[in-house]
């Protein structure tokens, strides 16, 4: 393997010189990045995709215009882990996080989130004080909830065949509806779906889950379709999987499906039976370097107008009573939004409300069991 390489004496110093050049280039690039980020920026961590875009159009852009504060949006898939790591380490680089209610309560209990006095929140559109305008459950010590969303079963009408699923039990019926299923990689929602499909009425689901036998029953039901499940983590994945034919049916956030229906013309159909109604809001991470701006942002997003404006881009329903009357039409297509809301009377009749207290007490435990179950 000895071949000529006589130019070595010239090339070697050349290579050595390359090192400082690369270093200098990196520094220049870094400084350019820094200079651009001079003005005050707030890091909002949210759920990405269509939902983040709806928030951006709905109120974030207006917030930036009115306050001069730059909002940078990062994506995550829920959970407290990253926040806990930041707070424990003492290097907090998230300011505001869009979070599910059970995590809001748990994070608050653990001292990870900044408490927010309901008195600081804006009154409702009709002037009622915030504490009366927001449902009691939706007003945690560490912030108010902003919207209702739901996890639903969805299928692609173009691929499903002649008979159509109509209940949550159909989702678990591999004989009637063969093909793979998409589910969120989390015990949240899935345990409830499993029990309802197994014949437990919605109002007994959490009482059943309170017993060891009930939890086992839920996992056993999930077992029956386990090897046909494709797990998703980001909310943007299930519509994609459904469009690609990767799965025959999937659970998904109703708003993402709505967007795929109206903006991309996808023939997706939502099964509202057994929909799991959840609520979420914005929280501030303890130790943020932008506390004032963060509070201003949370207050802004919690106004009835901001909520109603979000619901013009995605079918998530405002949590404030006074904002319900402000729901109007889809900003881009002019479709009436009311029938698409998870809280519309038609859709909510067969809904199960997520029990935040059960999940904030048992979430960790269930996560562990779920991951054990998953890895088997």
């Amino acid at each position: 393997m000895n071949r000529k390489g006589g130019m070595g004496s010239i090339l070697l110093p050349g290579l050595a010189a390359l090192v400082p050049v690369l270093a200098a280039a990196a520094l220049v690039l870094l400084f350019c990045g820094r200079a651009a980020a001079q003005e005050q920026t707030l890091t909002l961590v949210s759920w990405g995709g269509a939902y983040a875009r709806a928030c951006e159009k709905g109120y974030i852009e207006r917030f930036e215009r009115e306050t001069g504060i730059d909002v940078r949006i990062e994506d995550y898939n829920g959970g407290l882990a990253q926040i806990r790591a930041q707070v424990d380490v003492g290097n907090v680089y998230w300011d505001v996080v869009d979070m599910e209610l059970p995590d809001m309560v748990r994070g608050c209990d653990e001292g990870l989130l900044v408490p927010i006095d309901p008195g600081e929140l804006a009154p409702g559109a009709d002037g009622t004080p915030a504490a009366d305008d927001i449902p009691e459950d939706g007003l945690t010590e560490c912030g108010p909830t902003n919207l209702y969303y739901s996890t639903v079963v969805v299928y692609n009408d173009a691929r499903i065949g002649a008979s159509k699923p109509s209940t949550i039990a159909d989702f678990f019926d591999l004989e009637k509806f063969p093909g793979r299923r998409g589910m969120r990689r989390s015990p949240l929602v899935n345990l409830e779906f499993a029990l309802m499909a197994d014949g437990i009425p919605p109002d007994e689901v959490y009482a059943t889950l309170d017993t060891e036998a009930g939890v086992r029953r839920a996992f056993r039901k999930l077992d029956s379709i386990k090897d046909r499940i494709v797990w998703w983590e980001a909310g943007a994945q299930p519509p994609q999987m459904l469009a690609d034919g990767e799965v025959a049916m999937t659970t998904a956030y109703n708003g993402r499906i709505f967007n795929a229906q109206v903006l991309e013309g996808q023939p997706f159909v939502i099964v509202w039976d057994g929909q799991l109604l959840d609520t979420g809001g914005l929280v501030i991470v303890e130790g943020t370097r932008n506390l004032e701006a963060a509070k201003e942002f949370v207050r802004f997003a919690n106004t009835a107008r901001a909520m109603a404006d979000v619901s013009r881009y995605i079918s998530y329903s405002p949590s404030r009573r006074s904002a319900l009357d402000l729901i109007s039409t889809h900003a881009e297509t002019g479709i009436d939004m009311k029938p698409h809301m998870p809280t519309s009377p038609e859709n909510v009749s067969r809904a199960l409300h997520n029990d935040w207290e059960w999940w904030s007490d048992n979430g960790e435990e269930m996560n562990e069991r779920f991951s054990t179950w998953l890895a088997r």
């Binding site: 000895n2 070595g8 270093a23 690039l29 890091t43 990062e74 424990d88 380490v89 980001a234 994945q237």
Partner: protein, 276 residues
């Protein structure tokens, strides 16, 4: 292919089968890397060859993904981070590693086997363990989510490469050369600079390239210890693969393949130069 001289009919068959098998293995090694290259020019957001591409339809091919990554601020920030962290870690690892290799190659070095074992251990320790340990320890020191922390971590993970390559180069070094230079009045520093360094330079540069490549490809430590400000190219690819697979990462992958080939050719060229 020149082969063993006795060629019977059966032997010939087995030989061809052997060659065919090896060809398949080579295909297994290289084809997955090659297939990415044409796909990165796909005009559609798919991960497979569209019919248009197979017909060599000009419209089916495009540079849109390359344009996207060049225009995307996140990727350029990731490139800057990767270069900054990689180069700094490389300089640190190369300096310390070269010194240590000089000591380890000296026959007088006490407890050499033990010291070598410790110094190589970052390379064989599962990266998940290194990353977990570093996360706890660096967090306590306030070094998590800083560039400095990642530079130190990557330097530690890169030093074994430098130690190994430089020690290998020094295996052919005649200690009498140092002694001769010293007997003629040269100080230790002069001996190093004028006698040893030119001889081991190829090893040092290869070691540096290995260390840089290791940092440039490292994702787990960054995943555990880096914040948003420290996102590197592999970290960015990681989320690209896990969350939203966009063909844009194929374009990045092609860049990284070009990098890899450049590293490879340089190191091989240096090795041959050294072997002479």
């Amino acid at each position: 292919m020149t082969t063993i001289t006795t060629t019977t009919a059966g032997h010939g068959f087995w030989h061809i089968a052997y060659l065919g098998f090896c060809a398949l293995v080579f295909a297994f090694l290289i084809a997955p890397i090659l297939v990415i290259v044409p796909l990165s020019f796909n005009a559609e957001p798919y991960f497979t060859f569209t019919e248009g591409m197979l017909r060599l339809d000009a419209d089916a091919w495009s540079l849109r993904w390359y344009r996207q990554i060049v225009e995307d601020e996140e990727w350029s920030r990731a490139l800057a981070n990767s270069l900054f962290i990689g180069v700094s870690a490389t300089v640190l690892a190369t300096a310390l590693g070269t010194l240590a290799a000089l000591g380890l190659s000296n026959p007088a070095m006490p407890a050499r086997r033990f010291a070598t074992g410790l110094l190589i251990s970052p390379m064989v320790t599962p990266v998940i363990i290194s990353a977990a340990g570093m996360f706890f320890f660096y967090s306590n020191l306030g070094l998590a989510q800083t560039h400095l922390g990642l530079i130190l971590a990557h330097a530690a993970l890169g030093t074994p490469f430098v130690v190994i390559t430089v020690t290998a180069t020094l295996a052919g070094y005649d200690q009498n050369l140092s002694r001769a230079a010293a007997s003629m009045g040269a100080g230790p520093l002069t001996v190093f600079r004028r006698v040893q360094l030119p001889l081991i330079a190829p090893g040092v540069v290869s070691g540096g390239i290995f260390a840089f490549a290791a940092s440039f490809d490292e994702v787990v430590v960054v995943l555990f210890m880096g914040g948003i400000e420290q996102r590197t190219i592999p970290r960015q690819m990681w989320s690209g693969i896990r969350e939203e697979i966009s063909p844009a990462i194929l374009a990045v992958a092609v860049f990284l393949i070009v990098f890899a080939v450049l590293f490879l050719l340089t190191v091989e060229w240096l090795r041959r130069r050294n072997a002479r």
